[in-house]
Subunit: 307 residues, 2 copies
């Protein structure tokens, strides 16, 4: 195999109750990353479509993660990376994670898959570090493992159970919120009482995924610690949330560091009704936005084509 | 049925990673509660064996919980309660919870079981309030439901999966630590970073119970927030913990608010080896202590005899 094209999906981090811990993988929206072997033992980003981003491998997340990976393995060739961005940077649905995971996944496949996808998470997280300042794994874990993922520690990632039929509606207001700015908004201390409540929701959410208790999943998707601060950056957040829940979503919150907002529903039909409810609110604003509906993608990143 | 005798087991709260949230039910150690119907429509505690405790139904936790229950249901008789304490108050293995849960469970059975055990938790928690100042449900939930329990909110309790073969070793140093004193020792604020780490352990522990991943359960039983403060009250805590882990326990921490220390092992044999390792350390101290070994009691509170 000399060339590979992969689809590296968007993802939702935090899921209200699991700040820096939970991730979920989306479908239908993502980056396409093409990597080909070169004789010249260099790593290069040759083309980027869809967004204006640096091709410098020390600045582009896909280059940073690939470089980190290549430092740890022996290869006798170089690699050329082409990136077709399907996710807008700063949207809060794992744009940097998709690119960072995509390049390492593609290279790993090209060289005969010496590592598992789980093992690649730490390299992809290095790409995240270049984007937001810390090597958080919540999005890249979701991309590489699919479904719902849980970061216990940086190098201790768990793939959770993914109940049948869950679907996300994602609203992306076209305002850019940098992860680093959004992180700066958060209070750095919490009361013990708040910690107990927030972590009780996280544990109950995990239990709900395993027992496929949709009601429990829904009532556990609460964010008492982060959302009150971050939501002020998102136009009409409260209205979107009420409308989503009233339309049948089991949960609604900020996707990653925002500004995207997600709603989780049992079934695509409800997720589409939620999409319409969100549109109704945003159509009255003088603001561009996208809305996507996506099943939970339990498989994660995938190969589109090999040559 | 006019009389019932029940076995109300000891329990372990917190389990290192779930302060005020997690509980586990023990076997072989607990209170025996006998309740009989009386014509006189009064609630009375007639006898208490094994410990010096108040028979005043407004002071004794079994009376307080029973009273709270009886306020909500219609009965045309009174009740006499006899308590044989098998658990020492202030030991940290749910002495008050066993008595508080025992009386309401027994009365509920005597009157034809109008409520489920889950519904009884809130009344038993009222007994806990009398003992420690707040209506925490972690111990009473474990007693009434058995196995491993999770308190999402006061009235939203989940019974988790209980993997086969887990066994506890419980060391009880004979020093009294009141729950209220032990709670006062804890810092009331935590850093966001600490919250993320602690709650990641809680969620991973829950996942480990469902997937029966003993290693994950073990490495998730960490307490970064409470243990550093509370452990100073417990003689030789660090040595006990190292010895338990070195002997094969997958986790070790403070039971509830202490002073009891628990170790969790895969299998009774290891739990007994841990018992010996604990004894070796405590035999060198001038301090009375008990050690118990107990499987996880997945059934919880049970009827011994009815008349």
């Amino acid at each position: 195999m000399n060339e590979i094209k992969v689809f590296s999906p968007a993802s939702i981090a935090n899921l209200s109750c699991g700040y820096d811990i939970l991730g979920a993988c989306l479908d239908g929206i993502g980056d396409e990353i093409t990597v080909r072997k070169t004789k010249n033992k260099e790593l290069k980003i040759t083309k980027i479509f869809g967004q204006k981003l640096s091709k410098n491998i020390k600045k582009n997340v896909a280059g940073v993660s690939a470089n980190a990976f290549l430092k740890d393995i022996k290869v006798d060739c170089g690699f050329e990376i082409e990136i077709k961005k399907g996710i807008k940077p700063g949207s809060g649905i794992g744009s940097s994670a998709a690119s960072a995971a995509g390049s390492v996944f593609a290279i790993n496949e090209l060289i005969g898959k010496p590592l598992s996808n789980k093992d690649l998470i730490k390299y992809a997280a290095e790409g995240e570090k270049a984007a937001c300042g810390s090597a958080i794994s919540d999005n890249v874990a979701a991309v590489l493992l699919g479904g719902f993922t849980f970061v216990r520690e940086k190098n201790d990632i768990i793939k959770l159970n993914s109940p049948i039929g869950l679907a996300f509606t994602i609203l992306h207001p076209q305002i850019e919120v940098k992860t680093s700015d959004s992180r700066a908004l958060i209070k750095k201390i919490v009361s013990l009482e708040m910690m107990v409540k927030q972590s009780a929701n996280l544990g109950a959410f995990v239990s709900g995924l395993y027992t496929e208790d949709y009601e429990l999943i829904g009532r556990s998707m609460k964010d008492l610690v982060i959302e009150p601060f971050r939501s002020i950056l998102i136009p009409k957040f409260k209205q979107i949330k009420s409308a989503s829940i009233n339309t049948g979503a089991i949960g609604c919150g900020i996707s990653g560091s925002g500004p995207s907002v997600f709603a989780l529903s049992k079934g695509l039909t409800t997720a589409k009704n939620v999409e319409n409810a969100m549109k109704k609110i945003y159509d009255n604003l003088d603001l561009d936005y996208d809305v996507h509906v996506s099943r939970v993608n339990d498989k994660g990143i995938k190969i589109i084509k090999t040559l």
